[in-house]
């Protein structure tokens, strides 16, 4: 740990102060840290002039950052610890740097790399996805393969799922994403400042506030902007409303997947009521246009406070009753319990975050460990669930609905009003680095920005919680019936576009 620089969430650091190691030392530091239970927040490559470099942000109880020169070929860290598996694939895809000895080095999103180096996956990107890639295959007379997607049988984002099955039993599930790849990181590095917030809000629509907040905080840190307490309250309320709406929608959908329809109808509608609360606050059901670098665009006046608190008072008992209906139905219990289990050990090895991690007993919640906005003053939710199955994930989300409701009530009682928002384009600090973490509804969202000597964005790196958790879903399906896929999938409800960027 001697070589790592301790930093704070959203702390601006001059890039020269970040320890810059040789690759061998860098690799050893990361392996030692992750081997001792630390997790990877960010691990990516970037071009600094003509040189390629790597940077890692790690977390235990604290946050650390370290960098190194990036070799074209390097000894894979994944070969030692699984925590790096997706990051190394991404580095290979984005910069053509090859992790030698990576056990399953395949492309992440299917696009040409940024450096013009020879493609390490030997893909011709004029060909349609998935290009030159063969799926993991199980052989045997009784083994068959089921391929689903990219276009699915519902109003849902695209992705390809390949199951290796023996009868109904799933041996292995491989998930190939990338269909939603819009080139977000590259775009954020070239567009004028005015476009940044709008793009951040559409990285993952259901996490509009989560991603918007990460970006706003990172830019504020780089520009030296202070956000007043009233604006922080509004931001925190918006983040919690987003959490409640998504949890409610998913619990309804889970109930539907267990063939118990009434709660699905009720929660389908009630989710909309929570979206409408975001609309009262922001003028948009997803909270778009609310969070901007420097504050919030809308003041929460007496009228909005009253509307929010009245509506919450009306909805909360309804939500509790419907939850009681779901969680006391024997048919639902029978489907939720012992389905799609991920062990605590696997969850730790893969670095699962959010409710997917908490359901396995990993307590990590960025609101508690690295609080932003109003969270340092708010109580945390402690859950006793640790079974790692669909039940645990559902139960935690039920708990988080009531916890978030309490948080919103507390925040509504605070009297500070947000400062009036003035749209302006600030200057970013040159040669600086910042990393921002927030606990969005799915888990830890992180944005990392590096600026060059002129204060322009040199590298914009985004990590959605789904980046960690998709592999969790694949593991949850091992040895399950293939008909349990929908219920397992819904219990994670991961983002395609947040992953694909």
């Amino acid at each position: 740990m001697a070589e790592l620089l301790e930093i704070k969430n959203n702390e601006r650091v001059q890039r020269v102060h970040i320890p810059h190691l040789g690759f061998a030392d860098f690799r050893q530091e990361l392996i030692d840290f992750a081997g001792a239970g630390g997790q990877v927040v960010q691990f990516f490559a970037y071009a600094d002039g003509s040189a390629l470099k790597m940077l890692a942000v790690l977390r235990s109880e604290k946050l650390y950052v370290v960098g190194c020169d990036a070799p074209d070929n390097f000894a894979s860290l994944t070969a030692e610890l699984e925590k790096f598996h997706m990051f190394e694939r991404e580095i290979g895809e984005q910069y053509g740097l090859k992790a030698e000895g990576h056990p399953w080095l395949k492309m992440v999103r299917y696009h040409a790399n940024y450096t013009g180096k020879r493609d390490i996956f030997a893909n011709d990107y004029n060909q349609t996805i998935p290009g030159n890639y063969s799926y993991f295959k199980v052989d045997g007379e009784a083994v068959h393969e089921v391929a689903v997607g990219p276009v699915h049988a519902g109003i849902i984002e695209p992705g390809h799922f390949r199951f290796q099955c023996c009868g109904e039993r799933v041996f292995h599930l491989e998930i190939q994403l990338g269909y939603q790849h819009r080139g977000v990181e590259k775009l954020l590095q070239k567009v004028p400042f005015k476009r940044l917030p709008v793009i951040a809000e559409t990285i993952a629509g259901d996490t509009t506030i989560g991603h918007g907040l990460c970006q706003a905080q990172a830019l504020e840190s780089l520009a030296g902007l202070k956000v007043d307490e009233g604006s922080s309250s509004v931001r925190s309320i918006a983040l919690e409303l987003e959490r409640i709406a998504n949890h409610i929608g998913d619990l309804g959908a889970l109930s539907l997947d267990a063939a118990f329809n009434p709660p699905a109808a009720y929660f389908g509608r009630i989710r909309g009521d929570y979206l409408n609360l975001s609309q009262i606050l922001a003028g948009n059901r997803f909270g778009r246009g609310l969070v901007r670098p420097g504050g919030v665009t809308k003041i929460m006046g007496v009228e909005q406070r009253q509307l929010l608190s009245d509506k919450l008072a009306e909805l909360t008992p309804e939500v509790e009753h419907v939850n009681d209906l779901i969680f006391s139905a024997p048919s639902v219990l029978a489907r939720f319990e012992n389905t799609g289990t991920v062990s605590a050990a696997d969850a730790e090895k893969l670095g699962l975050v959010g409710y997917a991690g908490r359901a396995c007993g990993l307590a990590y919640d960025a609101r508690v460990s690295f609080p932003t906005e109003s969270y340092a003053d708010l109580p945390a939710n402690t859950s006793l669930e640790s079974d790692g199955d669909v039940w645990a994930r559902a139960q935690i989300r039920r708990e988080e609905i009531s916890h978030s409701t309490t948080l919103i009530r507390t925040l509504l009682e605070k009297s500070e009003n947000a400062a009036v928002y003035l749209p302006e384009i600030p200057n970013l600090a040159p040669a600086a680095f910042v990393v921002s973490l927030n606990e969005a509804w799915r888990g830890e969202v992180s944005h990392c920005i590096l600026t060059d000597d002129d204060g322009q964005i040199l590298r914009y790196k985004i990590k959605d919680p789904s980046f960690h958790n998709w592999i969790g879903l694949a593991l949850a399906l091992r040895d399950e019936g293939i008909s349990d896929f929908p219920i397992c999938n819904k219990s994670f409800n991961l983002s395609y576009c947040g992953f694909d960027l």
């Binding site: 999103r109 696009h111 349609t128 996805i129 276009v151 049988a153 519902g154 109003i155 849902i156 984002e157 695209p158 990338g178 269909y179 939603q180 790849h181 819009r182 080139g183 590259k186 070239k190 567009v191 005015k194 476009r195 917030p197 709008v198 793009i199 559409t202 993952a204 629509g205 259901d206 509009t208 929608g249 009434p262 709660p263 109808a265 009720y266 389908g268 509608r269 989710r271 909309g272 979206l275 409408n276 609309q279 606050l281 922001a282 003028g283 948009n284 059901r285 997803f286 778009r288 246009g289 665009t297 809308k298 309804e318 009753h321 419907v322 009681d324 749209p423 983002s495 395609y496 576009c497």
Partner: protein
């Protein structure tokens, strides 16, 4: 069973009476923007320069609803003197050029193709394709199936197979990686078929315009019949467009 009945009684009947009765959305909702033609040139220029979506043409003083993400910045900047967002959610159009507006859209019902009304007026089955959509458009399309909107009471359904569909409803800026899947799905729908572009992304690339990983405009790939603007379109915007275009 007792709990089911109790909850059913508590929930009651929640389906909206729209379109027979109007719905008033909360005053902060940003629907159809209205432009004040007499606003000072300086203010128009400032708004046009600040617009993150480059959706304001200062010469014609029109807003392109196909690019606009309804962020409200122009309203804030001009303090409502140049642009003010109304709560009018009825914004679907049959022509791309109609989306360039100062706040007066042609009545959609009169612009739909008559044979579509005859063919699909009583029953319309759509296949949804998310082609790079951020899941906001998808989510607010999905809610049309919840009891408040109850889309199927109008004979409109989203179906699983393109073979069962009368048309496609596309969201997202058509990523390069979804281009082929979008075309294949379209081809799998039997003719005659309709194509609906929903949300700023499918119409113009939305927030992602300029990215080299997207097609950016559904109409450049397949001829579009119906445009539903928004980021995402409010469920009522979609409902209004479907009812007026097909009914």
């Amino acid at each position: 069973m007792f709990k089911v009945i109790k909850n059913r009684l508590e929930q009651g009947y929640r389906t909206s009476k729209y379109p027979k009765e109007t719905i008033n959305l909360y005053k902060r909702f940003r629907g159809l923007p209205k432009v004040d033609r007499n606003c000072s040139e300086d203010l128009v220029q400032r708004c046009a320069a600040a617009c993150p979506q480059e959706a304001i043409d200062s010469a014609t003083r029109q807003i392109d609803l196909g690019r606009c993400v309804f962020c409200g910045l122009c309203e804030t900047l001009s303090e409502g003197l140049f642009v003010s967002f109304t709560q009018d959610f009825e914004m679907g159009t049959a022509q791309r050029q109609d989306l360039f507006t100062q706040g007066d859209l042609p009545a959609l019902a009169e612009h739909s193709q008559k044979h579509f009304k005859k063919l699909f007026g009583r029953s319309l089955q759509l296949r949804q394709i998310s082609a790079g959509g951020c899941n906001a458009c998808e989510a607010d399309t999905n809610v049309l199936n919840t009891p408040f909107f109850d889309l199927s009471r109008f004979g409109i359904q989203f179906v699983a197979s393109p073979r069962h569909a009368d048309g496609i409803h596309v969201t997202g800026p058509i990523t390069k990686n979804m281009r082929q899947a979008t075309l294949s799905t379209y081809e799998a729908v039997p003719s005659p078929k309709v194509v609906i572009a929903s949300g700023a992304c499918a119409i113009s690339g939305g927030p992602f315009f300029g990215s080299d990983e997207i097609v950016g405009d559904l109409n450049s790939l397949i001829p579009v019949d119906l445009y539903i603007p928004g980021c995402p379109p409010h469920p009522l915007t979609t409902l209004h467009a479907l009812l007026n275009y097909f009914k």
